[in-house]
């Protein structure tokens, strides 16, 4: 048997895990309980903190999963049983009937158009209707309809059958029965997600009773262009545009009485995002967010919340709401709340959005039980903090929110981590040979250009502003255009079929798609061309969404004119397009990991366990990094033993070579072929990938008398005291104060260090255990015990720890008076100043980026963000990749994170690296610089300007030579060359000049 695995659940986590496994050559079954893949992300409008359109960044992944030769998508399937041990496991599935023959259906949608029975549309949360036979959503993969037997007239009364009559391929099959299927796999990943809290259970908020109360997911659908109102915000009672909306946080989260003690981890940011987007939709709209703690603990999150507040007039009110009243005449909502200082206020709102929490669904709990994975007290799949993707059952791994609420990048990270883990237990089974069969490329020499133009409506994203039929009509009369048509969603799977068919029918040899951005969608259309036998570079993109409909929303006529201009421009360019070819490069199968802390060691172990030779560089004289200063995890597990075990394993692994006190002089090369020279020890390493795991540093405080008084210490120092052999000094402490956000969320460090709240709680609990009589005060701004950490916040309160909230502009004042430390802080609830004389003042210091990140980023030619951490390729969907191929990031280099998150991300980086190293060859970009040797004077100007060091001078011939693997096609050399000796593929001077001429 070759390598096989199964991923259960096809949300964004499951899809990512399946794609990574498949890219490692593992044949993967992607099993989904519903009719299409995509999960909750497919229902979101935009994503924080970049406000990318969720569907726009997800749909390329859907299409990739749908067309990957190593992925088998199994929809409408329940998992019944799992037997065996890795790599010999057997899964039993029940496949429910779709009543549509998947092999015959073309996804034309005729059945859906003719079906007379309307049902509430689950994709739009019942806010609109669909048909009893429906394609779940326009970009659905597989793009097949599903019949709802519970509502179908034929199933209920034995009459109708209209769909069967109209189906052109005879794909409707009323007689389909459920099937039991057994599948042999080597390992299994559980990724079946969560469900939203049922807001009806919090009757006091009136959901289901008052018409203008909706859930946050319903609101996402209202905001979405593909939603029930076409992206226009209307309130349900009278379809009026709301001007004043309230968003209530923690509905069904942090609520023991509702059965959910945990924090749902995503809703604070979702609320800030929805407030911003809503205001972009409705001029002058004001959103008010009622919250307990704003949990903006991720990369860029705090700045996003600041933007919502400062630039989008979002009001944040710290307070939880007791109940909501609706005016029976106007259906307006009245909210009574109390300010922190005790003023009771009443306010009227047009619309109320409930930020519903995430919780384990009954079905996911059921699947976990059937598969033998233990659940925690909250019903999430139980994992240990030092093994975040491993369930209690061998060979069964886990990722995404089924093991605890998490946002998209966390889920994607865990998915790649789980994929790496699942691949590492497949033993010596061979990889599945992947050869994508494209038809032979047509020889176009001597053929006149025949251009096809496809203009995308993007639902209403483009069509609501740009006159799409007008653009199509215009394009059809352009020179050399032989075919022009519009498409609802050009990125949908059936649209690819349509484009291929048009290429065939009209003998097209060049294609223009006028839609969105080539950044996300160009590869998709290039593949479509390849499948139709065309060179992928006979393609041009005209971005009429970002460049027309979005920026000129209020000027539809000008937007349409501009769209026509851009299409004309693209047609002119594609007319001069020539076939380009991607160079195939060999892959060196060694890996280099920079940093010997927890992240680096974890990544190295994963790679080495997959049989890959790994070099681990550590700048200090010993392995362990920051973990050497951590004594226990939040759940009380001692870390020293685990660390020693890991260091020993790394040290003795035959496939890992460790270089201590390592200093890098130079890193040359490119994906698959790197060469790194060390200054000390003097060695040269050849490798195919690089993983950056260079760590972070504890902020060294200058505030609050740190360094001037021995009683002022950091959490790290307190942790040492609490785990010392003799803790008798701790028992003598009468008052201990902790101050949060020291070196975080301030003007110098505009980000949250994410771990300090949990760190303070961990140490406070331990302190109370050692010395119950010590009074512990934690002075905080927002308690950020996100996700499952919330239970430790409660545990600390129950242990008697006092929490005092302060505002950033009223920080605690610390001074020395007499021999004592004196601390003053304003307590907003009591309206009084608390004064204390702590025996110990503990500063919860943040995490700052390593000072030497800058040097490393220059050696690797990868970017840093403003705070000095490394900047990943995409904050949402590529959280461990760099834009530079073959280089990956994990751990504190990327952003502050805890032990469990570090391990998950390190395994993810190893998994992503393995997708490169598992290949024999990789393809470079086709659009690269090309030197016309006869014109080159060998002046070397291009060598000097190339940021990627892709050009060298041939010493003998005195001409420049381009390394096509390193060239990124930026064109700087072509622009610099005084002899016009450099052409950039796809951007030759003739092409550029004629394109400019066309404008």
């Amino acid at each position: 048997m070759h390598k096989k695995a199964m991923v259960i659940g096809a949300g964004v986590a499951g899809i990512q895990a399946a794609l990574d496994l498949a890219d490692m050559g593992v044949e993967t079954y992607l099993v989904e309980v519903g009719p299409a893949i995509g999960g909750r992300m497919s229902q979101l409008d935009k994503t924080f903190p970049t406000n990318d359109c969720a569907m726009c960044i997800l749909s390329p992944k859907l299409v990739e999963a749908g067309s990957h030769p190593c992925i088998n998508i199994v929809t409408l399937a329940d998992v019944l049983d799992l037997q065996g041990k890795p790599p010999h496991m057997r899964v039993t599935l029940r496949k429910r009937p779709r009543y549509v023959d998947e092999s015959k259906c073309t996804g034309c949608g005729l059945c859906m158009a003719k079906c007379p029975t309307k049902i509430p549309d689950p994709y739009n949360k019942g806010l609109s209707t669909t048909k009893a036979i429906r394609i779940p959503f326009p970009q659905a993969v597989p793009a097949l309809p599903v019949m709802d037997a519970a509502h179908c007239t034929y199933h209920l009364r034995g009459k109708c059958g209209l769909c069967k009559k109209v189906c052109p391929t005879g794909a409707i099959d009323f007689e389909q029965k459920e099937q039991i299927v057994e599948v042999e796999v080597g390992s299994v990943i559980l990724a079946c997600g969560t469900k939203e809290f049922d807001a009806r259970l919090k009757g006091e908020y009136g959901y289901g009773i008052f018409p203008n109360v909706m859930t946050s997911i319903e609101f996402e659908r209202i905001l979405s262009a593909s939603g029930p109102t076409g992206g226009h915000i209307k309130r349900p009672s009278d379809q009026a545009e709301p001007k004043k909306i309230a968003i209530l946080q923690c509905v069904g989260s942090r609520d023991a009485s509702a059965g959910n003690e945990h924090c749902s981890a995503v809703c604070c940011m979702q609320a800030a995002k929805d407030a911003i987007i809503a205001r972009e939709h409705v001029l002058g709209l004001q959103a008010t967010i009622f919250y307990m703690d704003i949990r903006a603990y991720g990369k860029g999150f705090d700045r996003f919340v600041d933007r919502a507040r400062d630039e989008h007039a979002t009001r944040f009110v710290c307070g939880r709401i007791a109940s909501v009243e609706s005016d029976p005449r106007t259906n307006d909502l009245n909210i009574q709340y109390i300010t922190r200082d005790g003023k009771v206020l009443n306010e009227r709102f047009d619309l109320l959005v409930l930020s519903v929490g995430l919780q384990p669904s009954e079905s996911s709990k059921d699947v976990a039980r059937r598969l033998g994975a233990k659940l925690d007290a909250s019903g999430f799949v139980a994992v240990e903090s030092t093994a975040p993707v491993q369930t209690s059952r061998e060979g069964l791994f886990v990722c995404g929110s089924v093991s605890g609420p998490k946002d998209i990048p966390e889920s994607v990270m865990e998915a790649s981590g789980a994929a790496s883990a699942a691949a590492s237990v497949l033993g010596d089974c061979p990889a599945r040979e992947v050869s994508v069969e494209y038809p032979r490329e047509k020889d176009l020499r001597g053929e006149p250009p025949r251009v096809g133009v496809f203009v995308c409506r993007c639902g209403i994203n483009i069509a609501a502003t740009v006159d799409v039929p007008g653009v199509v009509e215009y394009a059809s009369h352009l020179p050399r255009v032989r075919h022009a048509q519009e498409m609802m969603f050009s990125c949908a799977q059936d649209s690819q079929k349509t484009i291929r068919a048009a290429i065939e029918t009209h003998k097209l040899n060049r294609v223009v798609v006028a839609a969105c951005t080539p950044r996300t969608h160009e590869p998709l259309f290039q593949k479509t061309l390849q499948k139709a036998g065309l060179n992928p570079y006979m393609f041009e993109f005209a971005n009429i969404r970002e460049h027309c409909s979005w920026v000129h929303q209020k000027q539809p006529e000008q937007a349409t004119t501009k769209a026509k201009d851009l299409v004309r421009n693209a047609v002119t360019r594609v007319t001069l397009a020539e076939p380009l070819y991607r160079k195939s490069l060999g892959v060196n199968k060694n890996a280099l990991v920079i940093g010997g802390g927890l992240a680096g060691m974890t990544a190295a172990m994963d790679l080495a366990n997959q049989g890959l030779q790994t070099y681990l560089l550590e700048k200090t004289g010993q392995l362990g990094g920051n973990l050497r200063h951590v004594k226990s995890t939040l759940d009380g597990e001692a870390t020293a033993g685990k660390l020693a075990e890991l260091v020993a394993k790394v040290g003795s692994h035959p496939k890992i070579q460790v270089h201590l006190s390592a200093k890098i002089r130079q890193i040359d090369g490119y994906i698959g072929n790197f060469k790194t020279t060390l200054e000390s020890p003097a060695v040269e390493i050849s490798h195919g990938v690089v993983i950056v795991a260079a760590g972070g540093e504890e902020y060294k405080p200058s505030e609050y008398l740190y360094g001037q008084d021995d009683r002022v210490v950091t959490q790290r120092q307190l942790e040492e005291m609490l785990h010392a052999a003799d803790t008798s000094a701790v028992a003598k402490l009468r008052t201990v104060a902790m101050i949060q956000c020291v070196g975080s969320r301030d003007s110098e460090h505009g980000y949250c260090s994410r771990v300090c709240c949990s760190e303070a709680i961990k140490n406070a609990i331990r302190l109370k255990q050692l010395s119950p009589r010590t009074n512990v005060y934690v002075l905080y701004r927002d308690m950020r015990t996100y996700g499952l950490k919330e239970r430790y916040y409660r545990q600390a309160r129950e242990a008697g720890v006092m929490f005092v909230r302060f505002e950033n502009d009223a920080k605690p004042a610390v001074q020395r008076s007499g021999g004592d430390l004196s601390l003053r802080v304003q307590d907003d609830i009591l309206g009084a100043t608390l004064e204390m004389k702590p025996d110990l003042l503990v500063l919860s210091t943040g995490i700052v980026a390593n000072a030497d990140n800058k040097g490393l980023s220059q050696l690797l030619k990868v970017p840093l963000e403003g705070d000095g951490f490394f900047l990943e390729a995409h904050v949402k969907l590529r959280p461990v990749d760099f834009a530079t191929d073959g280089v990956f990031v994990c751990g504190l280099s990327h952003y502050p994170k805890d032990i469990s998150e570090t391990i998950a991300q390190a395994r993810a980086a190893a998994g992503r690296a393995a997708t490169v190293l598992s290949k024999e060859t990789i393809e470079a970009e086709g659009k690269v610089a090309c030197i016309r040797a006869e014109r080159c004077s060998g002046c070397g100007a291009c060598v000097a300007v190339c940021a990627y060091r892709a050009i060298e001078l041939d010493a003998e011939l005195r001409v420049a030579v381009v390394n096509e693997a390193l060239c990124k096609g930026c064109g700087t050399c072509a622009a610099t060359c005084r002899s016009c000796a450099i052409d950039l593929g796809g951007f030759r001077n003739e092409q550029m000049l004629s394109a400019l001429g066309a404008l």
Binding site: A256, V344, A832
Partner: protein
């Protein structure tokens, strides 16, 4: 937050055993679960007419150890025992029962004036009677009576 603090509390002078004492009285067990969200106060019908009665503030006083400020204050006798705070509390603090525990301690320690205790029941009943009569309209000259009562309350 911009107001000048009205008072100063010196932490070392507080009675940190008060919290444990309240928690040991039946009904007071869950007080340490409170995370000060304010749901109890936001929905309280008493707070609605008198902001000095604030469930969140009372819990905080107990947790910090402001024993006398709590037990000797008349505000702990304002609670109408409607259990709205208990029904809405996300942490299961059961504030109405905490209030019963506080009243128990106040009585036990003699912190509650006996004459007030005696009259409280009567006041409760009287308030309900007035409410009933005004709503049902059995009181002649309903508007005038409301105005008269308002004036008297304002004077007192």
């Amino acid at each position: 937050m911009n107001e000048k603090p009205t008072s100063k509390i010196v932490v070392e002078d507080l009675d940190s055993s008060f919290r444990d004492e309240v928690a040991s009285v039946p009904g007071g067990e869950n007080i340490t679960k409170c995370f000060a969200c304010g749901t109890c106060a936001a929905g309280c019908p008493v707070t609605n007419v008198d902001e000095e009665y604030n469930c969140r503030k009372i819990i905080r006083q107990v947790l910090l150890g402001l024993r006398d400020d709590v037990l000797k204050s008349p505000v702990i006798w304002l609670c109408a025992l409607c259990y709205r705070c208990t029904a809405r509390c996300p942490q299961g603090v059961n504030f109405t029962d905490v209030m019963r525990a506080l009243r128990f301690l106040a009585i036990r320690e003699g912190a509650a004036p006996p004459d007030m205790l005696a009259s409280n029941d009567q006041i409760e009943r009287l308030a309900q009677l007035i409410r009933r009569d005004l709503i049902k309209g059995t009181t002649a000259g309903r508007k005038e009576v409301i105005e008269e009562l308002k004036a008297k309350i304002a004077k007192a």
